[in-house]
Amino acid sequence: MESMAEVHVIGQIVGATGFSESSLFCKWGVHTGAAWKLLSGIREGQTQVDTPQIGDMAYWSHPIDLHFATKGLQGWPRLHLQVWSQDSFGRCQLAGYGFCHVPSSPGTHQLDCPTWRPLGSWREQLARAFVGGGPQLLHGDAIYSGADRYRLHTAAGGTVHLDLGLLLRHFDRYGVEC
C-alpha cells in the first residue's frame, strides 16, 4: 500500500457559445479539498480574448494539464470559470460565472458548463444595457460553493465547452470504483 492515488486531468477549454457579448476571454481555476495535492501543472489561468468571425462560438483552445495526488475522495477537483468580455475601448465586463466538477471516471469527457451572472437592481440592469459594467461577486468562492447562493439573483448566460481527459491511478487499490 505504498502507492498513492493519482489523478491526471488533461484537456482544454475549447470555447464558449451563447453569450450576447462578442470579444470573450475566460479566467479559470481549480479548487480542491485539503486531502489533495497538486504535483504538477498550473492551477489557474486566463485565456486570450477571442472575437468570433463566423457564428457565435469563441474558441480559446486553452490547455489544462494537472497532476494531483490524494489521500481521500473528499474535495474532488472542481473547476470554476469566469467569462469576461472586452469591448473596443478595452473595458472588461463580466459575462458569466460557471462551475463544473472534474469528472471522476477515467476517459474523455465533453462538458458543457452553463454560466450565470448577478443581475442587480433594475437601475443596474439599465446601466449595463447602455454603458456596460454591472455587479460582480465580491468573493469568488461563491462560484464553487453553494452555501450562500440563495442570496443571489442572477441571469442565465452562455455556455462554456470543455474537453477533459481523466487518468486515474491506484484508486482500485483502495477499493474505489469510478
Binding site: 460565472y97 452553463p114 464553487y144
Partner: protein, 559 residues
C-alpha cells in the same frame, strides 16, 4: 548463399536512441552479381519475383568462379559523418584550381595525405557528409514525380534553408522574448525559422560508384545506397532500412551495360558494456525511486478507507439547469433522502441545497435558467441485517422548482424525484417535474395575480409518502400538470473493501447487490484477523520488554 531473397522494401525506417549519434557505425557490403547480359536476354525474368531469383542464381557460379577481387566485392564500416572520398573527388581535389571553399582545401590536404600513405580504405563505396555540397544539392533538386521539370515551391526553398542554417539556429530559440507573444513586424530571420518545422537535421549519404572496371570516378555511375538523417532529439531515419535478416537490396545500373549489384547495410554500432548498462539502469531506478518517495512524502500514503463491510458512496454533483417553466426567475430546492435502513451519512454532510434565483434565457423553443450549483455529499451503506431479503434501497434526490416574481411572491413550478445512479461514473439526469393543479380558471387567475398555489405538504409525496403503510399506493383524485424539467449532472464514486478483492480477481462490474453479498461474513473474518493481529502485537511487545537472556536461553547456555 544458395538463393537470394531480394529485399524490395526501400522505404525509410525510424529509430530512436538516447546515446550520442557519434557511436553510430554501419557496415555496408556491396557485391556485383553479374554483368547482366543475362538480364537483357531474359526480359521475362523481370516480371515475377521467382524468375528473378532464378536469373540471379544462374550467374552466381561464374561470379564465384572468379577470385572475389576488390572490384567485385567491397565491405566497409562507416562511422557517423565519416568522410570517404570517391574516385571522382580524389581526382578533383588533387587539382588545386578546383578547390574553392575552405572545406575543399581541407579535403585536398586529406586526400594528398591518403595518397601518400596509400591507405585509402574504400574503392567504390564513399560518403557525402552533412557539410558536402551534394547534400544541399540533392535536397534542393530532388525530384518527386516524373514531370520533366519540377519547380521548387516556396516551402521547398524554405525547408532547404532550414536545413542549411541549422548551426546558428540553436541560439535563436532561447533568444525569443517570452513576454512578447505576438510579433507585429516579423523579421526575415523570424519567418525563416518559424514558417517551417525547425528540428535541426543532419544528413549523410552512403554512395557507391558502380562504374565498370577501370572506369571509376564518373558522376553518372554514382548511386545512393543509403540516406541517414539524424535530428537533435535522437531520431535516426534510415532509408532504406538496415538489411538484417531481410536480404540484400539490389541496384540495376542503366545504360548499355546493365549490371546487377546487391548490397546490405547493417548496424554494427558497438553495444554498451553490460555492466555499464546495468549501472545506468541502476542510476535511473534510483532517481525515479527517489522522486517517487519525494512525491509520496508530499501526499502521504494513508488513504482514507471504509469500514469493512461498508459501501461508501460519493456524489459530486451540479444542478445544471431548469428548462421549460411557465414563469421566470426560477430557483431549485433539492435534497437527498437516504433510505431509513442501513444508510448513514457523516454528521457534517449537507444533503440539501437552495440555488440562486436565475432569470431564464430563451434557447430554441424553451426558456432555460442556468444554475451551475455545486453540491457533493457522501453516504455509507452498511449491510447489518443479513436476514432481510429485500433489495437495498438507494438514496433518492428530490427537487422542487419555484419561481419568484418582481413582488417577491413565489409560485411552485414543479416537483420531481430521481433515484441516484447505482453505477459509478458520470451521469446526466433530467428530472421531469409536475405541479398540483386545481380545476377551473379561477385557480389559474389566482396563481397569476396573487401567486401561490397548491403545494405539497410533504415532499416525499413525490415518490412514496413517508407515512404510507399498506400494499397499494393510490393517488386517485390528485390532479397534476406537467411542467418543465431540471438537469442534474452527477459524478458518482463508490468505495468498498469488497471491491479491492473483486478487482484483484478481475471481476468486472456486476450488479451492486452481487458485489455486496457476503458482507457480514467478510466483516466477521476481518474481525477475527484484527483480533489475531492484536494478540500477536501484544505478544511481540511482551517479548521485547523481557530481559534479553530470558528470551534466548540457549545462547546464554552456550556462552
Amino acid at each position: 548463399m544458395a538463393e537470394t531473397v531480394w529485399n524490395t522494401d526501400t522505404g525509410e525506417a525510424v529509430y530512436r536512441s538516447r546515446d550520442p549519434v557519434r557511436n553510430l557505425r554501419l557496415r555496408v557490403h556491396l557485391q556485383r552479381i553479374t554483368s547482366s547480359n543475362i538480364l537483357q536476354y531474359q526480359p521475362v525474368a523481370q516480371r515475377g519475383k521467382d524468375l528473378i531469383d532464378l536469373a540471379t542464381f544462374r550467374p552466381h557460379p561464374t561470379a564465384s568462379g572468379h577470385r572475389p577481387n576488390e572490384d567485385e566485392e567491397e565491405e566497409i564500416v562507416i562511422g557517423w559523418q565519416e568522410k570517404l572520398f570517391s574516385q571522382f573527388e580524389v581526382d578533383l581535389y588533387q587539382n588545386e584550381a578546383a578547390c574553392q571553399s575552405p572545406l575543399d582545401h581541407q579535403y585536398r590536404q586529406e586526400i594528398l595525405k591518403l595518397e601518400d600513405s596509400g591507405r585509402r580504405k574504400n574503392r567504390r563505396i564513399f560518403t557525402y557528409t552533412d557539410s558536402d555540397r551534394y547534400t544541399n544539392l540533392e535536397e534542393h533538386c530532388q525530384k518527386m514525380t516524373t514531370a520533366t521539370k519540377e519547380v521548387p515551391s516556396f516551402l521547398v526553398e524554405r525547408m532547404a534553408n532550414v536545413r542549411r542554417r541549422r548551426q546558428d539556429r540553436r541560439g535563436m530559440e532561447g533568444g525569443i522574448l517570452k513576454s512578447r507573444i505576438v510579433t507585429w513586424e516579423p523579421s526575415e530571420e523570424f519567418i525563416r525559422n518559424n514558417h517551417v518545422i525547425n528540428t535541426p537535421l543532419q544528413t549523410m549519404y552512403i554512395m557507391a560508384d558502380l562504374g565498370p572496371y577501370g572506369k571509376l570516378g564518373y558522376k553518372n555511375y554514382e548511386h545512393v545506397l543509403c540516406t541517414l538523417k539524424v535530428d537533435s532529439n535522437g531520431v535516426i531515419t534510415v532509408k532504406p532500412d538496415f538489411s538484417g535478416l531481410k536480404g540484400p537490396y539490389r541496384i540495376e545500373t542503366e545504360g548499355e551495360r546493365q549490371e546487377l549489384w546487391k548490397y546490405t547495410i547493417d548496424n554494427v554500432s558497438s553495444l554498451a558494456q553490460p555492466e555499464e548498462e546495468e549501472r545506468e539502469q541502476r542510476v535511473f531506478k534510483d532517481l525515479y525511486g527517489r522522486h517517487k518517495e519525494y512525491l509520496s512524502s508530499l501526499v502521504g500514503t494513508d488513504f482514507e478507507m471504509t469500514v469493512p463491510g461498508a459501501l461508501r458512496l460519493f456524489v459530486n454533483g451540479e444542478v445544471v439547469s431548469a428548462q421549460g417553466y411557465e414563469y421566470d426567475n426560477l430557483y431549485v430546492h433539492f435534497f437527498v433522502e437516504l433510505p431509513t435502513t442501513n444508510w448513514s451519512s457523516p454528521a457534517f454532510q449537507q444533503l440539501s441545497g437552495v440555488t440562486q434565483t436565475c432569470a431564464a434565457r430563451s434557447l430554441g423553443m424553451d426558456k432555460v435558467a442556468y444554475f451551475s450549483y455545486p453540491f457533493s455529499f457522501e453516504a455509507s451503506f452498511l449491510h447489518e441485517d443479513e436476514s432481510a431479503e429485500a433489495l437495498p434501497a438507494w438514496p433518492v434526490l428530490y427537487c422542487e422548482v419555484l419561481s419568484l416574481d418582481f413582488w417577491q411572491r413565489y409560485r411552485v413550478e414543479g416537483y420531481g424525484a430521481v433515484v441516484l445512479p447505482a453505477t459509478p461514473g458520470s451521469h446526466t439526469l433530467t428530472v421531469s417535474t409536475w405541479r398540483p393543479m386545481e380545476l377551473g380558471t379561477v385557480a389559474e387567475l389566482r396563481r397569476f395575480f396573487i401567486g401561490g398555489s397548491l403545494e405539497l405538504e410533504d415532499l416525499s409525496y413525490v415518490r412514496i409518502p413517508g407515512t404510507f403503510k399498506g400494499g397499494r399506493l393510490s393517488r386517485f383524485g390528485f390532479r397534476t400538470k406537467t411542467t418543465g424539467s431540471v438537469t442534474f449532472r452527477l459524478h458518482c464514486l463508490q468505495q468498498s473493501r469488497a471491491f479491492m478483492e473483486s478487482s484483484s480477481l478481475r471481476k468486472r462490474m456486476r450488479s451492486v447487490l452481487d458485489r455486496l453479498e457476503g458482507f457480514s461474513q467478510q466483516s466477521s473474518i476481518h474481525n477475527v484477523l484484527e483480533a489475531f493481529h492484536r494478540a500477536r502485537r501484544r505478544m511481540q511487545e511482551a517479548r521485547e520488554s523481557l530481559p534479553q537472556d530470558l528470551v534466548s536461553p540457549s545462547r546464554t547456555m552456550a556462552s
